[in-house]
Chain length 353, copies 2
């Protein structure tokens, strides 16, 4: 009994000590989360990391078990007005259209090519799957990676004018780096396509391909000109969303994470699964509240609906980030412009006579 009491006291003292050494002003040298304003969300995250990494505390977690999972769309990057992967598919239809003159009159392609999204969406899931099939399958995994990279290099978001892979959240990049600096292994667990995300996850987030879990089509192994390739088939193997997220975590990682980050009802089951484990746990929801710098949406949004998970967050004490209040910046600052070349000497004009 005595030992337990002392352990708890030690924990409390160490936590207080940890909290006391938080930089009073963010932006200080050494601040791991410079884009976060002081507030409950920031404090909760730092407290959790202190708890699990301070040896001697009863809440200490061995590095091998420090696993954190992140949703992608709406959690690590923006997702409006439509999921970026879907924008990729639409752009890809336009790129491929010259090879498919029949699409001009064939549903659902004709609606897309005419820019009539309402007519397209009226086709429901069937239209969507048709578009995903022609834009995401029938090519090898290597070719697909290349196509996605070319799209990221050239496409621009209609509202911000930014490349899509620059619309990642600076405060979340800091969370990823902060967790990794504290011995965490960081995974993406997303409803998005695994091959799509792997085309940029390493560069954008520092997350290597083997730590990206997503929805998957079946792959077919075959020899082409004697060389083996893996061809993406238009058949679903696994949908990594809602109940699929805990299943995907178990199938790919085989151990239960201790922290999970999401932003929508699609992340509910992942947060439940992660935070129901024994020992210290951390669940966080990014609430899109900033109509000016990003988008404001939650319960009624067709993309990234946050409704039941918002109620559950209150009940289960998950941390809710108020983007407008908690985040100093949304996207990373662009790299500084290259220094201007030395000014050319002013043209010499002959003195007026």
């Amino acid at each position: 009994m005595k030992t337990t009491l002392r352990q708890h006291l030690t924990a409390a003292l160490l936590l207080l000590a940890g909290a006391a050494t938080l930089p009073a002003q963010t932006g200080n040298v050494g601040d791991p989360l410079p884009s976060w304003n002081d507030g409950d969300a920031r404090t909760a995250l730092i407290t959790f990391v202190t708890q699990v990494t301070t040896s001697g505390l009863p809440t200490f977690v061995a590095p091998v078990d420090r696993v954190a999972t992140f949703d992608n769309d709406g959690t690590l990057w923006s997702e409006q007005p439509i999921y970026f992967q879907f924008q990729f598919a639409l752009d890809r239809v336009k790129t491929l259209a010259p090879e498919h003159p029949e699409w001009q009159t064939q549903e659902p392609f004709n609606h897309l090519l005419a820019g009539d999204m309402q007519a397209f969406l009226a086709g429901g899931e069937k239209s969507l799957m048709t578009v995903l099939a022609v834009t995401h399958t029938g090519i090898s995994t290597d070719e697909f990676q290349q196509v996605v990279k070319e799209w990221l290099a050239t496409a621009r978001h209609p509202k911000t004018g930014l490349p899509y892979n620059k619309m990642v959240f600076q405060p979340m990049l800091e969370v990823l780096a902060y967790l990794r600096a504290n011995g965490f292994k960081t995974y993406i667990v997303s409803g998005g396509g695994v091959e799509f995300m792997r085309a940029f996850a390493q560069e954008a987030y520092g997350i290597p391909p083997e730590q990206v879990i997503g929805s998957q089509g079946k792959l077919k192994y075959e020899l082409r000109d004697g060389q083996p390739v893996l061809v993406k088939l238009p058949e679903v193997q696994f949908i990594d969303d809602k109940e699929g997220k805990p299943a995907g975590i178990q199938t790919f990682i085989g151990r239960r994470p201790i922290a999970a980050f999401g932003n929508s009802d699609g992340d509910r089951q992942m947060l439940e699964w992660v935070t129901a484990g024994k020992g210290p746990r951390f669940g966080l929801i990014v609430h899109h509240t900033d109509a000016e710098r990003e988008w404001a949406y939650d319960r009624k949004s067709p993309i990234g609906t946050l409704d039941a998970a918002l109620d559950e967050a209150a009940e289960k004490k998950w941390t809710v980030v108020d983007m407008k209040k908690d985040w100093k910046t949304i996207y990373p600052a662009p790299p500084p412009p290259a220094p201007a070349p030395a000014a050319a000497p002013a043209p010499v004009t002959p003195p007026a006579k």
Copy 2:
């Protein structure tokens, strides 16, 4: 041109240097492969590792890309007279039988309980799937892990009398450790069940759950007494064998390994996929040639058939291990017995009168 020629010369010199520093006698202090006899297989493996880890060589591979994949049954542990996972299933049927009196007269359970394997096998795949369903599904992933661990702790192999997880190949344990010491990430890629292998892979091989890829059933997320669990369903999600192995590698790892180790026709496509990549590649097949210390089988064996892959190994220059010739030992030596208690003083016998 000059640089390229010089690079090749440097490579050749460094390789010669590397080969020259191989211990002349195995078993020396610092020998990474003490259970391997000198021979082509050992030399090929050490040459490959030297090639990819020596900076400055054109064959150098960055640590992040040093990925090696290993089949499990017949490559890392024995697989005769039947796959150990199947023996687990048979034993599990016997354990569960008292709760299922109907099995005494119900096919295929009646044959198993009567020990009539021929009658059981006559039922083909349907019988097998029925047994896998009752022994591997309907319980949570956590419960299943526990059941496998209990079986490993108590079951003994009929021929060797050893626990099944002690029938791992000592020379392959050395290969795993040698590769990891050289910056490789080691994965299992097996037709066996992923949850079955994860129950012992960390302890037996030092391979953590997230680096075990195997065949998978679907998982169902549900709440039991308010607590989330993942229940194993009797539906196949993915078969990680033959063509499935390259697909599993791509799906889970997302990059192509540079070395692969197998022992049967089920590993052909994995070895093709891995060794067809650019740069230095290594493929190895364990050929079971030791009827005395293990088992001898290849082209005609119903378990672990090695036929087409053996022909392809010759054609593609994969390394073939002759177990009888190349391996000094098969299984790890048992731990030394605990020191005997200090000898009790000899009983004092009264001197004969």
